[in-house]
């Protein structure tokens, strides 16, 4: 049962484009692609629009060369490549919620070179630690709501917004519940499975996703993984949807028990607190959520959060991943490693690119695991 559900998640990821196309035909509604998790999907759900995250395919993004200088991260180039190759041809619009320069570039290149009916950029504030951010973002989101209304010709009521808020909050709550089972000495799901759960929730109708999560949570307590958990690992850093890497590492006698990145827990960790002013409620969530490092200053709140996760989920070691050229995460590597080290969590940094050179990484990861388990008895 759990297995079938996990299989379904995998299937959704592998056939994401077919899913979106059929969803469109079935509902007759619009599908919008978004680049960063700072896009308030609540508003889109309120407008009966299906938001799907634009992600790469991990093939060398040759065709982006004329549009994006290769000193920007592979994610933004790989995303654009998908568009240029026409894989997202079914999209009615694209939206970006301001985070890093890289994805902004993917958004602009898309807007300029790929025929699209609707493109909107939300200037999500960077100063999320200032008291002025919430009222400002509330107005930015109001502007976004108006442009959606103009585009669809339908007004978005408070009831609509509540529907959107509820389906996202529900999804967040359920996925957090699943994560609880990763705290166990013998986790009920692997890191790869957890990643596939979160990834699929960024690709399909959350109503459907929630149904499966509910079923899964009934069965999960009785699930027994036929594998030794081995070393308990955390994976923390830049956007990461590299399932091959997760699988390979977990085959080396380790299990990822927690993650901190925007295709994992960072995406769903924070709920919306209900308020009379719905838009302000939404704005507050995106201001106070677990931040992307690009917005996390002057205090390193994300690092504190990552340390808490590492402790709660009893991680022995952490792989600190940075997508090559991802400055927001790159800048935080030393403070992050220091903070994790201070609570006894050893770390190892890995620089990810569009494809991960497993041969080299295998040696590093294995050696890192050896230093954690110590090969003690052999000295």
């Amino acid at each position: 049962m759990v297995e079938e559900i996990l299989e379904k998640f995998r299937e959704w990821i592998d056939n994401r484009h077919e899913y979106a196309k059929t969803w469109k035909e079935r509902t007759g509604n619009k599908v919008v692609g978004y680049f960063c998790t700072y896009v308030p999907e609540e508003v889109l759900y309120a407008a009966n629009i299906l938001p799907v995250r634009i992600l790469g395919s991990h093939e060398p993004p040759t065709i982006t060369e004329p549009y994006i200088f290769a000193m920007y991260c592979h994610l933004c180039r790989d995303c654009l490549a998908q568009g240029l190759k026409g894989r997202f041809s079914y999209l009615d619009g694209i939206v970006e919620g301001q985070s890093c320069l890289h994805l902004r570039q993917a958004f602009n290149a898309w807007r300029l070179h790929i025929p699209i009916d609707y493109a909107h950029y939300i200037h999500v504030p960077h100063g999320v630690q200032t008291p002025r951010a919430v009222p400002y973002l509330t107005q930015e989101i109001a502007k976004f709501k108006q442009s959606i209304e103009k585009w669809t010709g339908k007004t978005i009521t408070n009831e609509d917004l509540d529907r959107g808020i509820n389906v996202l909050n529900r999804n967040r709550d359920l996925m957090r519940k699943v994560y609880e089972y990763r705290k166990l000495d013998n986790p009920k799901i692997t890191g790869l499975e957890a990643m596939e759960m979160v990834l699929s929730s960024q690709m399909v109708d959350k109503e459907e996703h929630n149904k499966l999560l509910e079923q899964m949570l009934e069965e999960l307590p009785y699930r027994k993984l036929d594998r030794e958990p081995g070393v308990r690992l955390m994976i923390v850093g830049s956007e990461d949807d590299d399932r091959v890497f997760m699988k390979n590492v977990e085959n080396l006698g380790a299990t990822f028990v927690i993650d901190e990145h925007c295709t994992g827990s960072r995406y769903f960790w924070t709920d919306i607190e209900p308020r009379e002013d719905r838009l302000m409620a939404v704005a507050s969530r995106y201001v106070y959520r677990v931040p992307c490092p690009s917005k996390d200053w002057p205090e390193f709140t994300r690092i504190k959060h990552a340390v808490n996760l590492a402790e709660q989920f009893k991680a022995q070691g952490a792989l600190v991943i940075q997508n090559k050229f991802c400055d927001p995460h790159g800048i935080e590597i030393p403070p992050l490693r220091e903070a994790l080290r201070s609570v006894g969590v050893h770390t190892y940094p890995l620089e990810f690119d569009v494809t991960v050179p497993w041969g080299q990484f295998r040696t590093r990861v294995e050696a890192f695991l050896e230093t954690l388990t110590g090969l003690e008895e052999l000295f």
């Binding site: 041969g359 040696t363 590093r364 050896e370 230093t371 090969l375 008895e377 052999l378 000295f379």
Partner: protein, 294 residues
């Protein structure tokens, strides 16, 4: 130039060796370490934790065959056969392709352990310059890894880089290091980090009429710089030692010495064997564990 090329200067000599005064017949534990590297493969046979026989050869296209070949070569004339070996540990890039190995351990752990054996317990920093990558390893007095770093993506500071270069200036790889030291004044290091571009740059220098020696110096200086970058990132603690093929290249080692102000210890045996030695030592420990001796 063309006939010079056929000399294949990049080819470093393969060899095997048996310790004459040693005998395995009354040994308690015979172990082997097989280090299938990206460029070279090495096997070390140990009797009761002492080096007995070893062999070094180039890694072939099929690593299983190489593993078998290099090991049988090490055993050649000793009367031992693979089946007689109590425990075999595989390491190196191709460690998973050593069919007769009971277990694999990474070259990081093995090089630290091997360096400890070759250079003694004062070793704290191990620099392994292999064919394809360069590792800086910090270890404790037992030869246990504390932390490590591997070079990222740039092979200019590696054996492969040297091979390409040796070929270019047609000086046998064993001698490029010495040649690079025969300049009275150190030139600017070649600026490029990429092997191909570094080579192109070196070629340009040669064509401007630079002497091989001077070009070699510029290239080795660049290699040393790159390696120091890596070392400073893990932090150098005395004693520093070098392992791997390039450890035999005086041009690199002496420059490292100059740049770091630390004199690397001199090895009591071929440092290219460090990985295999470490593996063989781990094999001994593992065998003892199986026999309940530890």
């Amino acid at each position: 130039m063309t006939e010079e090329k056929t000399q294949e200067c990049w080819k470093w000599p393969e060899y095997r060796h048996t310790m004459p005064e040693m005998d395995w017949h009354d040994a308690k534990i015979v172990t082997a370490g097989v280090d299938v590297g990206s460029v070279g493969s090495k096997t070390v046979i140990m009797v009761d934790g002492e080096l007995y026989a070893c062999s070094v050869m180039r890694t072939g296209g099929v690593s299983e065959e190489t593993a078998l070949k290099v090991t049988n070569w090490a055993l050649e004339g000793t009367g031992l056969e693979i089946k007689d070996i109590h425990y075999v540990v595989g390491t190196g890039y191709g460690r998973v392709n050593v069919p007769f190995a009971k277990r694999t351990i990474t070259e990081i752990a093995c090089h630290a352990r091997g360096a400890h054996y070759i250079y003694g317990p004062t070793v704290r920093t191990v620099l392994d310059i292999g064919g394809q990558d360069c590792k800086a390893i910090r270890c404790d007095e037992k030869g246990k890894v504390l932390s490590f770093l591997m070079n990222d993506k740039c092979a200019a500071g590696t054996g492969r880089g040297l091979e390409v270069f040796a070929d270019l200036i047609s000086v046998p790889i064993q001698e490029v290091g010495k040649v690079s030291l025969s300049v009275d004044q150190e030139p600017q290091p070649v600026s490029n980090t990429c092997v191909i571009f570094a080579k192109a740059e070196a070629l340009a220098l040669l064509r401007q009429g630079w002497l091989k020696e001077r070009v070699a110096a510029a290239y080795h200086a660049a290699m040393a710089d790159r390696i120091v970058d890596l070392l400073t990132r893990v932090g150098v603690e005395k004693d520093l030692v070098t392992t791997g093929g390039v450890a035999k290249n005086v041009g690199v080692v002496q420059r490292l010495e100059r740049l770091l102000g630390v004199k690397p210890l001199s090895p009591r045996m071929d440092p290219i064997l460090a990985g295999a030695i470490g593996a063989a030592l781990f094999a001994k420990a593992l065998q003892e564990k199986e026999l309940g001796l530890r």
